[in-house]
Amino acid sequence: MSDDAPAPTAAEYADGSVGYPMHPIGPDGHAPVGEVALTGRAGTVETWTESTATPPGVRAPNLLAIVSFDLPGGPVRMIGQVDADAVAIGDRVHLGPPTQLREPDSGLRPTAVQSYVGHRFVPDED
């Protein structure tokens, strides 16, 4: 759909801690010093839900998960849509290609403020 969505990266701070999304000021009180790519890594589903009452421009049902990636600096968690019919706690997933997550200008935030292109979680092959 679009390739203008930057691949999600975890911010790395001078004290070695990591997190997503980036905080302009990290837990150590300083700006981040680096980035760690989350694409190409396997993450674990910590919890999931399937939302049926979705806002304007959002698919229904909307399968969502919180996924944890184990990085050397600690676990980095991310929330996102899941590109599957079902998912379970403990499943292994990875980030798929950029895709249109929500119809532009359907929500309160205009596209000038908010990107609606991003990455869904895709279950790993067994």
Partner: protein, 388 residues
Amino acid sequence: MFVHMDRVAIVGAAMTRFGKRSGWVAELLTEAAEATIADAEIDRAQIDHVYVANMASGEFEGHAGIANRLVHDCQLIDAYCARIDQTSASGGAGVYAGWQAIASGAASCALVVGAEKMTHRSTAEATDVIASLTHPVEYQHGVTLPSFAGLAARAYLHRYDAPRESLAHVAVKNHRNGVDNPHAHFQSAVDLETVLSSPMIADPLRLYDFCPISDGSAGLLLMSESLAREVTDRYVVITGIGGGTDTHVVHERPDPTRMGAVVTAGERAYAMAGRRPTEVDFAELHDMFTILEFLQSEDLGFFEKGHAWESTMAGVTARDGRLPINPSGGLKSKGHPLGASGVAQVVELVTQLRGEAGARQVDGAVGLACNVGGFGNCVTTTIVEAVS
């Protein structure tokens, strides 16, 4: 540091009927303000600060500056006024602003009024207004507050081996309490089967796990205890109040079943009041979703983490239990007009402590209200006590 202070008293309290209302936010504000002033039986000229708790009058109906509108409509000209927005916790934040005004001596009589008008919007539109508090990396995925609740509920049930039915007990209890609250949006009981067979909204949570979208308003009138003694013999006292903030990026939290801001706000309120969780006689918690009643009652120290579900199923939190939770019916049955809810929680504490709650009256001299914004993003906890 608060021991020798003149305490902050509540001398007036009122709420309007919650539900689908015909008035706009200005009318709702006026209705609650007038009822509150009437309840306090004071001269409105005494009011020198006005705080209007509201999340989104601009988004919902294109009306900004509603604190000025209230001052105009209720002839409170000259009073200082401000609108307080702290999302779903705007009401609690408004109470805190009023408390600060009195405790600091900046005001001698503060009117706090919370209101929201929501029902003229579709469910999808109202959900999106509320979801707009999320971080862009969440918002782009269509994340809503109900979906956060589904994620947390699944994690809770999985981790603590709690049955799905335990959440339904929260809905049944709070609907039962709401039957006896003439201001509640729903005044109808539901049974477990109805809850468990209602449409799935955010798996594993179903329609009856969620509060309704409501219009409504509520008000409080605050002054120092020394002044309160001169005007009424039916005042109660805010003995503790505290706030806290957690990351609003919910997935960043290390434990999806723990609300850090609830813990922090509770600790601060307990410390100010000199109270322990075991000394709270009843509580109004922010049950926007059934799972939130479990999380708050644990994070406030009423139950060990992972055990609120057992206590709920055993009837501990029922109106005739050891620790009644949400005798008003809670947000679940009373409704959740965003900016009004935190104020209405404290109105219920006042009503109970005065012994004026009628069929839903519970025993006790110490009440606690916990008002949660976002999904635990920002919290205000207030402890109110009767004067012996």
